[in-house]
């Protein structure tokens, strides 16, 4: 469909306005609404990590509530089974910067791997460290953080936390699946935790790689689906190479709509999260 010159510019103006509003939330919203909570929580080392994770989750819930309000043409389908995941290593494809934020908003207890350079950013790096996130690199002073976090991971997962990771390491520009890093699979084996494979689609239509502005005016459905669950026993039995192949195959499969039955207690739990929307 051809758009007129005026309509294209109108769309761009709306994209710019929405992006500006979202950035205001990111900066001013953080400073005004959230930074006091982080500061108070930082004085309580015993519960600091848990509280930082919860605040992160709330902050991004607010972010996505704002995005949904401002960008109604993008619809969201979050598989309730995916939203109900607990105590697992979650593996997901990566298409947009929004992907990790979406996971943080969905899970109150969450950890992930973050680009090491982000740990050097003032305030942001402080939040990442105290939230218990991992640096991607373990060299130098980051080795200590890596060792501490890996050693505490089994307890974190056993307490219901989720460790989510995008094993491709970087966003896919064309939707195809890149090479998977095996670190998360090794953590699942080490911690005897289940692996849940989740497929995300179309977050890149809302926030495209390489673009600064949100794309707000085109109709789109963003979806998150649980496509595979690998039990801890299987995780231990399968070699890392076999695990990687199975996960890659699952991520390449077209996601089926969630089928919940009476024999699926996790689905019953999931129904309680039907209202969960990013």
């Amino acid at each position: 469909m051809q758009h007129s010159f005026g309509q294209r510019w109108g769309d761009r103006l709306i994209d710019a306005a929405v992006t500006g509003a979202v950035w205001c939330y990111f900066t001013l919203g953080f400073v005004v609404l959230f930074s006091p909570r982080y500061i108070v929580a930082s004085f309580c080392p015993q519960h600091r990590e848990e509280r930082f994770q919860r605040f992160n989750s709330r902050f991004y819930q607010g972010f996505f509530a704002l995005v949904r309000l401002l960008v109604p043409r993008h619809r969201w389908h979050i598989d309730p089974q995916a939203a109900a995941i607990r105590g697992s290593v979650i593996i997901c494809n990566h298409v947009s910067y929004l992907d990790p934020l979406l996971f943080i908003s969905l899970f109150e207890r969450q950890k992930t791997v973050v680009k090491t350079s982000f740990f050097k950013v003032p305030i942001f790096g402080w939040v990442l460290r105290h939230a218990g996130y991992f640096p991607a690199d373990s060299s130098g002073r980051y080795g200590r953080i890596m060792i501490e976090q890996v050693e505490r991971m089994a307890g974190f997962l056993a307490a219901g936390g989720n460790f989510f990771i995008f094993p491709e390491g970087t966003r896919s520009r064309d939707g195809s699946l890149g090479t998977l890093n095996r670190g998360a699979l090794k953590i699942a084996r080490l911690c005897r935790a289940p692996i849940q494979v989740v497929r995300l689609a179309n977050t890149d239509k809302l926030y495209r790689p390489g673009r600064f502005f949100f794309t707000t005016r085109s109709a789109n459905t963003i979806s998150m689906s649980l496509v595979e669950r690998i039990e801890p026993d299987e995780v231990r039995e399968l070699g890392v190479a076999d695990l990687e192949r199975r996960i890659a195959a699952a991520l390449r499969r077209q996601a089926e709509p969630a089928q919940c039955g009476a024999d699926r207690p996790d689905c019953r739990d999931a129904r309680q999260h039907l209202s969960v929307q990013p």
Binding site: S138, S139, G143, R144, M146, I147, V150, E151, R182, G183, K186, I187, L190, G239, V240, A241
Partner: protein, 85 residues
Amino acid sequence: MTREELQERILSILEHDFEFEAPGLTDNLRDDHGFDSIDAIELLGKIETMLGFTLSREEKEQAMSIRTINDILDYIEQIRSARQS
């Protein structure tokens, strides 16, 4: 335990638990066998079991710079001798 015995045990662990194929003493662990920091932390747990004592945080951090199987053997010998002295 002699260095030869130590080498045998480490090679056995690497082959059975870390799926190494035909490991060489000077192979680059990361490039040749995909051995990363998570593996290093898992291996440290096995080294602790083998040595019969818990490694300190500083000793574990030292292990993050290991690059070859020879480095692993040197590391264990160094830890052992430091504890004995």
